[in-house]
């Protein structure tokens, strides 16, 4: 019988949440505010990476515009909350007065809009083969970014500013957990197996009675929904949303996380999201301490661009030497639903 690991997963997550929360309390202050933000960003990237893994790793398509969906989520949720801030103060006790409800609602609505965009894009595109799909999704990501850059109502090139900082560690943890459970449940059910079969051999899958187009679109839309949630959470953490945050390079970064972690492995995406985010932050902080080199007349300062150079090399090396990434296609025991009798 299927052993249901949900209790173990919940306990682990609650323990994690408890530890971080306690350590970052003002009285204890082992984890300061900066570290907390880093952890929060890690969790958001867990959401982004694992949702991309659904499309690229589990269904086997090749989407390269994932951050476009995050952008939709960020802007839609940000617009809702900034508008809400401008409303006259309502009577206390009325539902509309509770920021947390508005926030959760805004995030979900952002996800729904992102899902809608995913449906719009996915439906025509998913007929295409791998390389073409990559270019088309890349193109759509750019189109979304360009459109947002040109809508003055949401700030245009200056970005959407003044978003309230509603993202707390608890809420981000909650959404991350929800997304992981969602994906895990999806993979370990009949629909998930249908999706995996598409990755393995699309023609054979079709010949087993699987409506491959429907499942490719479905996965794409679910991935977009989760990305929209991630984007919304990010916007409410950084208190702004800007088109450059969602262009090709951030999409590539999430792609690297998926590959480094292992295609099709949710655990891998989690590990890679944490590792790469912490690595970037670490490098960014360490930069201040690295001395400046002088070669001849040139001064070489290790700037933040060098971090991306390292990532690029990392991506190439992963492809050359360990295509499976860290986890290959395996999952940690925690995330598998036991199948053996």
């Amino acid at each position: 019988m299927d052993k249901f690991n949900l209790p173990r997963l919940l306990i682990t997550t609650v323990a994690f949440w408890l530890i971080v929360t306690l350590l970052s309390l003002d009285s204890v202050n082992i984890l300061n505010g900066y570290v907390l933000v880093v952890i929060e960003r890690c969790l958001i990237f867990v959401i982004l990476a694992s949702s991309l893994n659904l499309v690229n790793g589990i269904i086997g398509q090749f989407s390269m515009g994932h951050m476009g969906f995050a952008a939709v989520g960020a802007y839609v949720s940000g617009t809702i909350t900034t508008l809400w801030l401008k409303l006259p103060p309502p009577d206390p006790g009325v539902w509309i007065s509770f920021p947390i409800l508005i926030f959760m609602g805004a995030i979900i609505v952002g996800g729904v809009f992102a899902a809608g965009v995913g449906l719009l894009i996915g439906f025509p595109s998913l007929r295409l083969k791998g390389d073409y799909l990559a270019i088309v999704t890349l193109g759509f990501g750019e189109i979304i970014r360009t459109i947002l850059n040109n809508i003055d109502y949401v700030g245009g090139p200056r970005g959407l500013l003044g978003i309230p900082k509603f993202s707390s560690f608890t809420i981000i943890c909650l959404f991350a957990l929800l997304v992981i459970v969602l994906l895990r449940n999806l993979v370990h059910c009949s629909h998930g197996r249908a999706m995996l079969s598409i990755r393995e051999n699309e023609l054979a899958s079709e010949l087993c009675g699987v409506d491959t187009t429907r499942y490719k679109v479905m996965g794409f839309v679910i991935g977009a929904f989760c990305a929209g949630i991630g984007g919304g959470l990010l916007a409410h953490l950084l208190t702004l949303a800007h088109p450059t945050q969602f262009g090709f390079m951030p999409s590539a970064l999430v792609l690297i996380m998926v590959y480094a972690g292992g295609m099709g492995s949710i655990t891998g995406s989690i590990v890679a999201a944490f590792t790469l985010t912490i690595l970037s932050e670490g490098l960014r902080s360490a930069i201040d301490y690295i001395p400046v080199f002088k070669i001849g007349a040139m001064t070489i300062r290790i700037g933040t661009e060098w971090v991306m150079v390292v990532y690029a090399v990392l991506l190439i090396l992963i492809m050359l030497y360990r295509t499976e990434g860290i986890m290959g296609m395996r999952e940690a025991k925690l995330l598998i639903i036991e199948d053996k009798q």
Binding site: A134, N150, V309, V313
Partner: protein, 306 residues
């Protein structure tokens, strides 16, 4: 039709198309021979632009007593740009793509993304090259003429002539020489070509060489015509050139040329209406092509044996 189809527009369109054509040819040849969309190709173009910049200063300082900015210097810089493009393309193939060819196609695609990122960020980060745009030098003095209502510079002539010369040379190579025959054979069936005694890896390398050289040349032309260069300058032109190749029929050499000139004309025309439209029209074209006729204008349907 008034201002929209003026001579000036046509000339601008042809000029842009020439640059796209040179880049698109590299895309289409590489795809034709190894079925890879080389994401980094636009960055080879960028590399060529920077190499031209470097070559100009090198030749200018070394040979300034012999050559002043002018046609001869242009030739030297062109050779330098093409050589640089060829080198970076062959290196990418040797280091990143070759080993992955026999693994999944996806890994080569991702590796290409990696190469692209590497080139862009490296040039961005390296202080001598730096992230800020640079003005491109006047390799030869600009001369303006008036033809009808249009202003035409000698740069336009250079763009068109260089592109035409290179394209003609390529067509002759592919159609008339045994090397070209070998290239065509490899693109149709690698294994059969190998059994015929063709050095397949060598041919692939050579294809990258030509593709890279053309991209390098395009980089020089772009630097001359639109005299600002920066590390990210390859992304959009690369994408548009790729779309041109798809429009004409990916894998098809005349198709790439046709698609590129169509793209150049359409983009210049769209730009008059709205600069946003000019940017986005390429993607609209891509989507239409992929939905209506994915094999492109001149492409052939290939049936996969199931």
């Amino acid at each position: 039709m008034g201002t929209y189809f003026s001579l000036q527009q046509i000339i601008n369109g042809l000029q842009l198309g020439s640059i796209y054509a040179l880049i698109a040819l590299g895309y289409t040849m590489v795809y034709g021979i190894v079925r890879l969309i080389n994401f980094a190709h636009g960055d080879f173009f960028m590399f060529g632009a920077y190499a031209s910049y470097g070559a100009f200063f090198m030749f200018n300082t070394l040979l300034s007593s012999y050559i002043a900015p002018g046609n001869l210097l242009l030739v030297f810089v062109l050779i330098g740009a093409m050589a640089a493009g060829a080198c970076v393309a062959m290196l990418s193939n040797r280091i990143a793509y070759r080993r992955l060819r026999y693994k999944s196609k996806l890994s080569t695609l991702v590796a290409a993304i990696g190469v692209s990122m590497f080139l862009e960020y490296f040039f961005s980060a390296f202080p001598a090259i730096g992230p800020s745009p640079r003005g491109f030098p006047e390799v030869l003095p600009k001369v303006m003429w008036k033809i009808g209502s249009a202003q035409v510079s000698n740069y336009v002539v250079i763009d068109l002539v260089v592109a035409a010369a290179l394209m003609t040379g390529l067509t002759l190579l592919v159609q008339k020489t045994s090397l070209g025959r070998a290239m065509r054979a490899v693109s149709q069936d690698k294994d059969a070509a190998k059994l015929m005694g063709i050095n397949v890896e060598g041919i692939i390398s050579f294809t990258f060489l030509i593709g890279g050289a053309f991209a390098g040349a395009a980089g020089l032309l772009a630097g001359l015509t639109y005299p600002r260069i920066m590390p990210y300058m390859g992304i959009m032109p690369g994408l548009k050139a790729f779309i041109s190749a798809v429009l004409g029929g990916i894998g098809n050499i005349p198709g790439a040329m046709l698609g590129a000139y169509i793209m150049g004309m359409v983009e210049t025309t769209a730009n008059i209406y709205n600069s946003l439209l000019g940017e986005g029209i390429a993607f609209v074209i891509l989507i239409i092509v992929l939905l209506v006729r994915p094999t492109g204008i001149l492409g052939e349907k290939t049936a996969d044996k199931i």
